[in-house]
């Protein structure tokens, strides 16, 4: 026969596919791919959109998408390039100033904002202290919105007037929430919000005064990026750019972990799909041995046979993947509809990328897992038409597993974008599979001897497993993989939630108290005890600036706009302590023993700052403190848990070192909600002390974590569903053989209960063994993941030992259910065959 053109082959393939579809033959493969692609697309969309939503929440912490901040006003061209790009712009000027009234004066943190502020989020305010909150609006010229604390401190009420510099302003509302009030807690005094138009009239901002100029930008991501690229090279030393990601450590951390978790989950979904596709493609190929032999007899070349079947699979794969992507998209729409109360009103749509990635993953999985069985089809000897027992020479296992691993590696790499992790996981997986598979084979061999004289249902049930130990081991590994995936996802979910929960315990400090004078120290502590507020220790604070490292000016060690640079640009809060504060870990050197300091006192430096300033153990640092220079030797480096809402310090001195300098004290404490009056009383009793409420920030963080938690749980559900679907398609793959056996046993007079019992034994044992494999595997994989992907401390999980039991129950039940057609097969079918 002449060579068939590709087009003819294609139309032949499509026609055969349609015929086969009618016969119901390819449904399993189609379904496996559909589920897998739907799961991975839905997770992809969910992840992308939720991430977008969370980023939007995070931008609220800045009040903008991007922030240009400096101690001098932005240059006109820096503003012009932004407006030319079509970005929205708002301007804020912040400074400290004394608020004067007839009752007295109070140092306040004044924010002057223009009429566009804020660009993200809304201001919240009340018409009177503790009245219901209203959202939106901003002070008009001539007005000031102030925090309730200022009213208390100066005994004011709404409607009174205050003076800032030369300008008199009327108090119009109580300010309760600013979307961008995360900043630096320690420098905050009561907030006064005024209109930017009043700023000049105050006359407070003069050349040389300490002022923060903030230019807020909002717009589409590409334009923001362009703006960033344009402005970055020309930044003044005092200027820096900030976006949501560097805006807040706590949120950044939570987002990063959630993103990795979601990627992990879609990887698991793809992994499961791989197993399903491999199983059903194998069935597809085995069932086409006859057809393939016939086509070869009819004169089709080996290549043409291969192309024909490959085309069939490709068309099927495309159809399944596209439908799967659509299904996944609909599934995530449903989820977002379900969660609309919890999520921000505008969730970005997510684009086409997750759908394309889902389809891509499906096709890559199909190629990797279906090609090897397909290759066997090309090798079916044409003689099979005469002698049905002739089987194709099997592919070398290297080809089979190599292709599958290659496909998996590709997908994993795309999802986690981390080559080391990908290879660690793949390599670990292969080693684990080989070791566990070997052990399993040994186990089955010994079981075989043991069971030679066992009762009939046991021998019937186990006959299948024991007669083909290699196939049984493969099956156990496949089921084990499903259980492993689920266990791992559940494990990580629990671990992530715990970590976040620990980060924000119920009684995380919700107040900070600053500027406690040494004379008030004892009284303030007593008062807190009286209120039974849970308080951190009181830390002395002395403002100081790092001026030299080993005799060289400190500025030589840093590049412009780096984190180290920022550490030098402002006063650091210097403290001293005899004991290492909670949440701090010494990473190098030693914490000082309890003894008087040497000639040169020791200082413990936070690790990140040390890294940025290239500070090593033993370096001599000179600080300028209140006009006096103090030298200290670096004796240790520390890592700080920034998430704990405790006072944290970059520099801690040996006790006694700074004692002669004027210090104030600060602490954080927790007081349950509903104690507003006590706080008011506290600030009346200690007028000099600044009390900051961080409840709003905590609430924001908690609500974001709640969203992440929900996402994590939803994803777990999805993976479970995918796993079950795969389990059933796996069972389907052995169904033909089981139906034949079931019918034969029925014909020979076996009653249904015997068959059910044999099935239960078979699948129960298979499930138990898979569960055992999964338990061992999860521990192994979690060890790798915790260490390298999630940065979590690893400890053994004894509860994983329920997996064998769970596996026995789950796979036992699913096995009996999935093969019920074999139990109900009419014994008559034995006559129909052959």
């Amino acid at each position: 026969m002449a060579r068939l053109p590709l087009l003819r082959l294609f139309s032949l393939a499509v026609r055969q596919l349609l015929r086969d579809a009618r016969a119901g033959e390819l449904r399993v493969l189609f379904f496996a791919l559909l589920v897998a692609v739907a799961a991975s697309t839905a997770i992809g969309y969910f992840g992308a959109r939720l991430n977008g939503a969370m980023m939007m929440r995070a931008t609220e912490f800045l009040g903008a998408d991007l922030l240009l901040e400096g101690s001098s006003p932005a240059r006109p061209e820096q503003i012009r390039s932004g407006t030319e790009l079509g970005l929205e712009h708002a301007r804020v000027v912040e400074f400290s100033s004394v608020v004067a009234t007839d009752n007295g004066i109070q140092l306040s943190s004044v924010k002057a904002a223009d009429d566009n502020y804020p660009l993200r989020g809304e201001l919240k305010s009340t018409p009177a202290p503790f009245a219901p909150e209203e959202t939106g609006g901003r002070p008009n010229p001539g007005e000031a919105w102030v925090e309730a604390r200022l009213l208390t401190a100066l005994d004011l009420k709404i409607g009174d007037s205050i003076d800032i510099g030369n300008q008199t302003l009327r108090l119009s509302r109580v300010l309760t929430y600013e979307p961008d009030r995360s900043g630096n807690f320690y420098s905050l005094t009561p907030r006064v919000l005024i209109n930017l138009k009043d700023l000049e009239a105050t006359g407070v901002v003069q050349p040389g005064s300490r002022v923060s100029y903030r230019d807020l930008w909002r717009g589409p991501a590409p334009a923001l990026q362009t703006y960033r690229d344009l402005v970055k090279p020309g930044l003044e030393p005092n200027q820096r750019l900030q976006d949501a990601r560097d805006g807040n450590r706590q949120i950044g951390g939570a987002l990063g972990k959630a993103e990795r978790y979601l990627n992990m989950a879609s990887l698991v979904a793809v992994l499961l799909s791989g197993v399903a596709v491999a199983l059903s493609a194998n069935r597809f190929a085995t069932r086409r041995f006859d057809a393939s032999a016939l086509l070869r007899c009819l004169g089709l070349s080996r290549r043409e046979t291969m192309v024909l079947f490959s085309l069939q699979l490709t068309v099927l794969g495309l159809l399944a993947s596209v439908s799967g992507a659509l299904l996944g998209w609909i599934a995530q729409l449903g989820l977002f509809a379900l969660l609309h109360d919890l999520l921000p009103t505008t969730v970005p749509p997510g684009g086409l990328l997750p759908a394309i990635a889902g389809i891509g993953s499906g096709l890559v999985a199909l190629a990797g897992f279906a090609l090897p069985p397909l290759a066997a089809l090309g090798r079916v000897p044409p003689l099979r038409v005469l002698r049905r027992d002739m089987l194709p020479i099997p592919s070398s296992s290297w080809v089979i597993y190599g292709a599958a691993l290659g496909a998996l590696g590709l997908i994993m790499w795309r999802l986690s974008l981390d080559l080391v992790l990908t290879f660690a996981l793949l390599g670990g997986g292969v080693v684990a599979a080989l070791v566990l598979g070997g052990l399993l084979l040994l186990l089955l061999q010994s079981l075989r001897r043991l069971l030679a004289r066992a009762a009939l249902p046991w021998r019937l049930g186990l006959g299948q497993l024991l007669r083909h130990p290699l196939a049984a081991a493969g099956q156990a590994l496949a089921f084990g993989l499903i259980l492993l995936s689920m266990a791992l996802i559940a494990l990580l979910r629990g671990e992530l939630l715990d970590t976040w929960q620990n980060q924000l315990p119920k009684n995380a400090p919700n107040y900070f108290a600053l500027n406690i004078l040494p004379n008030d120290k004892q009284a303030f502590t007593d008062k807190l005890l009286e209120l039974s507020a849970q308080s951190a220790p009181l830390y002395p604070v002395v403002p100081g600036r790092l001026i030299s490292i080993n005799g060289e000016p400190a500025t030589e060690f840093v590049t412009k706009d780096s984190a180290g640079d920022r550490a030098l640009q402002r006063d650091l809060s210097l403290t001293w302590a005899a004991d290492l504060p909670a949440g701090n870990v010494v990473t190098a050197g030693t914490w000082w023993p309890q003894q008087p300091p040497d000639d040169v006192p020791g200082v413990s430096v936070e690790g990140k700052v040390a890294e940025n300033l290239k500070i090593k153990l033993g370096d001599r640092l000179v600080f300028s403190v209140g006009g006096v220079n103090r030298e200290a030797k670096v004796t240790s480096l520390r890592e700080i848990n920034w998430d704990n809402f405790q006072p944290n310090f970059f520099m801690i001195f040996q006790p006694g070192t700074l004692k002669d300098l004027p210090a104030t004290y600060l602490t954080s404490f927790y007081l349950a909600a509903g104690h507003d009056q006590q706080i008011v009383d506290l600030s009346r009793a200690f007028p000099a002390v600044t009390i900051l409420q961080v409840e709003a920030l905590l609430e924001q963080l908690r609500s974001i974590l709640a969203q992440v938690t929900l996402a994590v749980e939803y994803v777990l559900l999805f993976v479970l569903a995918a796993g079950m679907a795969v389990l059933f398609s796996g069972l389907q793959a052995t169904l033909d053989e089981r139906i034949r056996q079931g019918a034969l046993l029925r014909a020979l007079g076996a009653e249904r209960p015997l068959l059910v019992k044999a099935r239960r034994i078979e699948f129960g044992l298979l499930g138990a063994v898979s569960g055992l494999l999964a338990a061992l595997g999860s521990e192994l994989v979690s060890l790798v993941l915790y260490r390298y992907a999630f940065d979590l401390p690893w400890h053994p999980h004894p509860w994983l030992l329920v997996l064998p039991l769970l596996g026995a129950l789950l796979i036992g039940a699913a096995g009996v259910f999935g093969t019920r057609r074999a139990l109900n097969a009419s014994p008559l079918t034995v006559l129909r065959e052959g």
């Binding site: 024991l466 029925r746 209960p753 052959g834």
Partner: protein
């Protein structure tokens, strides 16, 4: 009538098809005594296998009744019929139908175990020796030739000492020489054990070794019951 082991009365089988109802068997009656042998012959599609299925209780007729070992089959559910098959019936199939997951000995033990017999292993071993496979007890079906597989199937069919043995084209998948040896074995054992034999075949020579013969054409009996 008293010694009849298998009777069929007015058996009909009608199935639904795209073109309406299709009659596969039409009002067929027969009666077999203990030790009888019956060959059912006919062209493909004449209803031979359907008749065999009905007689063995693998399927139920649309109308009429089969009585096997004194039990009217249509009154029983599938599990009760399975019980009857386990106690009274043996099978030999064209495609052997051995369980791949069991070895030769275990395949032969299977009906004995279904019947709850304690001496399954000993009896199965004896039977395999009888069919000449004493050296192949632990071989799996895949390791045996077609003729050997059919010997295992015959040993299995006689293992539980059935009253009736049904054979569906027992030599259909074998070459003529091997087929001859297999049919010899079948009739030898049939005589030794006094079993009633019902066989469906294309092979006229095999058919004529039976004491009785019926020929089916389009679901109706066209030949006399006696050859």
């Amino acid at each position: 009538m008293g010694s009849s082991i298998l009777t069929a009365t007015d058996l009909s089988k009608v199935v639904a098809s795209a073109e309406g109802e299709l009659t596969i068997l039409h009002e067929l009656s027969l009666e077999l005594n203990k030790g009888d042998s019956l060959a059912i012959v006919g062209a493909s599609g004449s209803g031979k296998s359907t008749l065999l299925g009905l007689l063995a209780g693998l399927d139920l007729p649309s109308s009429g009744e089969v009585t096997l070992a004194g039990q009217a089959l249509s009154a029983l559910d599938e599990d009760q019929r399975a019980r009857i098959r386990a106690e009274h019936v043996g099978f030999v199939f064209q495609s052997f139908q051995l369980l791949d997951s069991l070895n030769a000995l275990e395949n032969v033990m299977l009906p004995l175990e279904l019947d709850g017999r304690k001496d399954a292993r000993e009896r199965a071993t004896q039977l395999l020796q009888r069919v000449g496979l004493g050296q192949r007890l632990t071989h799996s079906p895949r390791q045996l030739s077609g003729g050997e597989q059919q010997r295992v199937a015959i040993a299995r069919a006689f293992a539980a000492e059935p009253d009736v043995l049904f054979a569906d084209e027992p030599t259909g998948n074998l070459d003529s020489h091997t087929g001859e040896r297999i049919s010899d074995l079948l009739f030898e054992l049939n005589q030794e054990r006094g079993t009633t034999l019902v066989l469906v075949t294309h092979d006229e020579r095999l058919a004529h070794r039976c004491r009785r013969l019926i020929r089916l054409e389009a679901g109706e009996m066209v030949a006399p019951l006696e050859p």
